[in-house]
Amino acid sequence: MSERLTLEELAALMKSAAGLTVDPKQMAALPDTPFADFGLDSLGLLGIVGELENRYGATVPDDAERCRTPRDFLDLINTVSTTGA
């Protein structure tokens, strides 16, 4: 990935992949809230990971679909992207 994934983009992915309407501002205010509290289940997160892989042609680490919160997920994705993995 060439750019850092933002909460806005994550919210858009939650909408397209899992049909969830989540306010990115709410995620920014409470970044450690579990995905489950936003209504996102493990299959929904898996769909988001797949979409990121297809979109950027990058390999997202195996651990990505195990992330429990928006903060964990962005940290992992963006760490990988900035180190060029």
Binding site: A17, A18, G19, G44, G47, G50, N54
Partner: protein, 416 residues
């Protein structure tokens, strides 16, 4: 059912998604009028297929009825089931917000014949068109024939006994029987029924091998059971979900009892062996009557399976004669499904809904498109027939050889 005289199973809510109407009221109005909605197949991608006539659900907007997060992970057959379940729960006034009700007191039981063909086709096209990375994870659950039970359970928070009956088309009645057994064992209420969506291109292709499928291209002539021009059946989509409850619990919360699930029995006689289905269906009828402690003469109306295949129609007429004796030629027989098609497992549940409405209104709905019956049965054709109705018999057979019979008794609800 009978052995649970202290725990009777009653129907307190009905939700219908049918080709002739979304809601039990719309369904009943069209059914009573004998309106046929069989038409040329219009679904995208089906134009070139040899199946020309079907019962499509056309006035159904899932986004108006179900939250988006459920829509993205489910097939059309589950959209139908979830919408019908909502309608049934509203009708029964049984909500997820009943604070004093244990979540374990309500379960879900559906029957399914084919699962999520439309969703599955889309994902398989992605697999072969773009590659495995483009198959979405919800494919793992959406195609599955148990999906509707699971999603209704999740959405409503119903943590009681849940399951899916996979026993062919007659499974729609077997699911009701299974729900009644579950109630007899101690569960307060069950959301039960079946809905199918077999009109996606892939799903239709799967049915083209059925020799019993009608190949007639003119809708009014395509599905005419019990006549000399019987030429097979027309498939349909849709179905119905019911709320059934233990009678005492239903009365205690002030619910209106629409009908009593009085008796059921099922048999198996093998695929495409319609002559043999005579004995199997007769045995199912006898078993259901015994279960309901009902004499043959007490049956006031029969909702026939009415496959539309001459051998199968003859077997059904003879099975009724075998099980009901002389009463078989006197009791009114109807098959409203000739106006909407056969929605596989959804079909007998739609017939059950129609039977309950018939008992409530004292009217036997007609059998659309059927004239000049060639069997010794009093098939109600043309117009609805007023009648004093207390007990109904619903019959169903599947293409793979399952036979089932259900006896319903009148409830105490008066039509609004």
């Amino acid at each position: 059912m009978s052995s649970g005289q202290e725990r009777r199973c009653v129907i307190t809510g009905m939700g219908v998604v049918a080709p002739n109407g979304v809601s039990a009221d719309a369904f009943w109005k069209a059914t009573r009028e004998g309106i046929s909605v069989l038409e040329r197949v219009t679904r995208e991608g089906c134009e070139q297929l040899p199946l020309k006539v079907a019962g499509e659900v056309r006035d159904f907007d899932p986004t108006a009825l179900i939250e988006e997060r459920f829509l993205v992970q489910t097939d059309r057959f589950t959209h139908f089931a979830m919408a019908a379940a909502n309608l049934a729960l509203d009708d029964a006034r049984l909500g997820a917000t009943d604070e004093d009700r244990s979540p374990y007191a309500v379960g879900v039981m559906t029957a399914a014949g084919s699962g999520g063909g439309e969703f599955g086709q889309r994902e398989l096209q992605r697999l072969w068109g773009k590659g495995s990375r483009h198959v979405g994870p919800y494919q793992s659950i959406a195609w599955f024939y148990a999906a509707s039970t699971g999603q209704i359970s999740i959405r409503g928070g119903f943590k009681g006994p849940c399951g899916v009956v996979a026993s062919d088309e007659a499974g729609g009645l077997d699911a009701l029987a299974q729900a009644a057994r579950t109630i007899r064992r101690g569960t307060d209420a069950m959301v039960v029924g079946a809905a199918e969506a077999p009109l996606a291109p892939y799903s239709i292709v799967c049915q083209l091998g059925y020799e019993d499928l009608s190949g007639v291209e003119e809708p009014a002539r395509a599905y005419r059971p019990f006549t000399q021009s019987a030429c097979g059946f027309v498939p349909a989509e849709g179905g119905a979900m019911l709320v059934v409850e233990e009678e005492g619990k239903a009365l205690a919360r002030g619910a209106q009892i629409r009908a009593v699930v009085a008796g059921h029995a099922a048999t198996f006689t093998g695929p495409s062996r319609w002559a043999e289905s005579r004995a199997g269906l007769a045995q199912a009828i006898r078993g259901a009557l015994k279960d309901a402690r009902c004499a043959p003469e007490e049956i006031d109306v029969v909702f026939a399976d009415a496959l539309g295949v001459p051998t199968a129609d003859r077997a059904e007429a003879l099975a009724l004669a075998d099980a009901l004796g002389g009463h078989a030629s006197r009791v009114p027989v109807t098959a409203p499904k000739t106006g909407i098609g056969r929605a596989y497992c959804g079909a007998p549940v739609l017939d059950t809904a129609a039977a309950v409405l018939s008992l409530e209104h004292g009217v036997v709905p007609p059998t659309p498109n059927v004239v000049d019956v060639c069997h010794d049965l009093d098939v109600v054709t043309g117009r609805a027939r007023p009648a004093a109705l207390r007990t109904a018999l619903v019959l169903s057979r599947g293409l793979m050889g399952s036979n089932a019979a259900l006896v319903l008794r009148q409830g105490d609800r008066t039509p609004s």
